[in-house]
Symmetry: C2
Subunit: 365 residues, 2 copies
């Protein structure tokens, strides 16, 4: 097992803890509302496309120097308050025994998708450092070594058990999630074994990212809302997501619980855990806040498509999100979903500057 390469000194750690992002995660007063963007290391940046043109997705993920480079690009280009490690949610499935490929135009494909209960029993649960995830852990170390002294937090992440289970059973993207749901309904015991294995693997991976230098974690349940009604969520997902967040409490860093399409049952999602609830753009931020309850921070929720609109319209929509946040602490500005490849980088620059300027808390802090 590899050792953590950089041990931050007390002063750099204190500096990190004073960052607006980490303070907002904890609901503490901040000088201004921090902002980062889901998928901020992505195709909308020419710098990213230049790297991507020369390497495949899997090469980028599994070459720590490349992953570190693209992780740092948006932090160099914009005044973002946090970085998020460049990686993908699917590689943990490779360590478990699935063959992952990124097919141009089709997205990720798992050749040997799970078809029977038996396939689930064959899945391994190796520790992250013995799989391709070791490369991401190394990338976390490289990025943390650069950002920690500058007081910029690095977010580690992983997919929630349901979203990973969907990919593993559907074999890739899905329109109606018929395969994963048919297995859930038809073979509940096998479903339980699968979800339990995924919790094991994901908790290990997330904790190792913290050991490697991540200052916060985000768990993405990107597909739960598209696939599941509330009763299914409660029955087949909530017990495992709850287990995951409970086991992450010992990480000692803030954990963000993000999901999409779950507005009608966001209270059930929030009850699984997490210091921060990341919400999508489908309902106003205040609406979510009401349902999530007090005592937790909230992250979101500009519609990513707003970044394609003229500045006047984009500005009005940023103002709406900020008004919904009510100038209160415990808000991290973000999109309600990943940034789109066709986004003009100039709009990202203006967004970040505007959020900071507009939320500056004055001399009080």
């Amino acid at each position: 097992m590899e050792q953590v390469l950089t041990v931050p000194t007390v002063s750099t750690e204190a500096r990190l803890e004073a960052s607006p992002f980490l303070r907002a995660c904890r609901g503490l007063p901040v000088p201004y509302t921090p902002v980062w963007l889901m998928r901020q290391a992505g195709r909308y940046m020419p710098q990213y496309r230049a790297v991507r043109a020369r390497y495949s997705m899997l090469e980028m993920i599994s070459t720590p120097e490349l992953a570190a480079e693209v992780t740092l690009q948006p932090v160099r280009a914009f005044e973002l308050d946090a970085a998020i490690i460049f990686a993908d949610i699917l590689p943990p499935l490779m360590g478990m025994g699935l063959k992952l490929d990124f097919v141009p135009g089709r997205g990720p494909v798992l050749e040997n998708r799970l078809q029977r209960a038996y396939d689930i029993d064959l899945l391994a649960t190796p520790p992250a450092e013995e799989t391709i995830l070791a490369k991401t852990l190394e990338a976390v170390r490289l990025v943390a070594a650069e950002l920690t002294p500058r007081g910029i937090p690095l977010i580690g992440f992983a997919g929630a058990p349901f979203t990973l289970a969907s990919y593993a059973i559907e074999g890739g993207g899905s329109k109606n999630y018929a395969r994963v749901k048919a297995l859930m309904y038809g073979e509940p015991a096998a479903w339980k074994r699968l979800m339990t294995k995924l919790v094991t693997v994901q908790v290990d991976y997330l904790l190792k990212q913290v050991e490697a230098g991540a200052s916060a974690l985000q768990v993405f349940d990107s597909w739960a809302g598209a696939a599941l009604g509330r009763e299914d969520y409660r029955r087949y997902v909530q017990p495992y997501s709850r287990m995951l967040f409970q086991q992450l409490e010992r990480a000692g860093v803030p954990v963000i619980n993000f999901s999409a399409g779950t507005a009608p049952y966001i209270a059930d999602v929030a009850s699984c855990g997490g210091d921060v609830i990341g919400v999508d753009w489908r309902m106003p931020l205040g609406w979510f806040r009401q349902r999530i309850g007090e005592g937790r921070s909230i992250q979101g929720n500009l519609d990513p498509v707003a970044l394609l609109a003229p500045w006047r319209e984009l500005k009005a929509r940023i103002d709406e999100v900020l008004a919904e946040a009510g100038g209160r602490d415990g808000h991290i500005f973000n999109l309600g979903h990943g940034i789109l490849p066709e986004t003009p980088p100039e709009n990202v620059r203006r967004l970040v500057e505007y959020v900071h300027a507009r939320t500056m808390r004055g001399e009080a802090l």
Copy 2:
């Protein structure tokens, strides 16, 4: 302009009006809960696949005898309480000037999608009978001639303005609706002209279906919930959907307002109009009922994937829907989305029989 071919006699009309489906649409007492299934004329039926193997989608839609045949197949095979005309939501766009093709494996594609405000101004708004929709109106006549004497209602349908606008601007299916939303945000005046034209065309088409013999109408806003947050829905969609439902009041038949993915703002959707609100499977029926309010019927909402589960599980889920409906009148049993091609027809038979048997109101009626 063609004439309506069959003029139902008073007695056949009275018989239709006594059908459980039409009574449930109006919230009147029924002998048992009526049931039909969205996309019930579809690929899950071997009879349908036999026709589909010999004709393209567009041939089936534009050949009244074929459309009538596949419309009748499920009503012959199962004890369904209504038929829905076999058609597609996109042909109205052909009459307006868009070139539609169904590409195997890719779904519908519009070659000359709307790209500029100027393209919108070139769109025509011809009456249905002067376009390919005449073929669907003829199919409605053929089916009504067969079903009306037997007291089985035929449902006519069309897409809601937003869903059609999405297709017209995206050029086909879409992942994030970036094009349609960028136009909405960036060119609100052009958006208004487009939506107004779509209301004109769809109202005409729906009213003509009633003239041709449809006993009820369903308007599908399949994409609103996937594409839009509540504020966008209110600003860019609601005024036009409201206009549409208002203009349909003179049809004199019940109108079903169906949408998917709109649970968090279902009250806004319902406020557009419709005698019946059709809801998806994401939340329990009673949850929707609370937000829709009294005085309207509700249609739904079994998850279509439940039809792939073993009977024990499927039965439990049907029971859940019926329990949520609370044995009250004003409920039409349906799926929360279209039936899946991989559904075993045997499960459809059992579902229909079970809903009827389970909801039989006894001798009181």
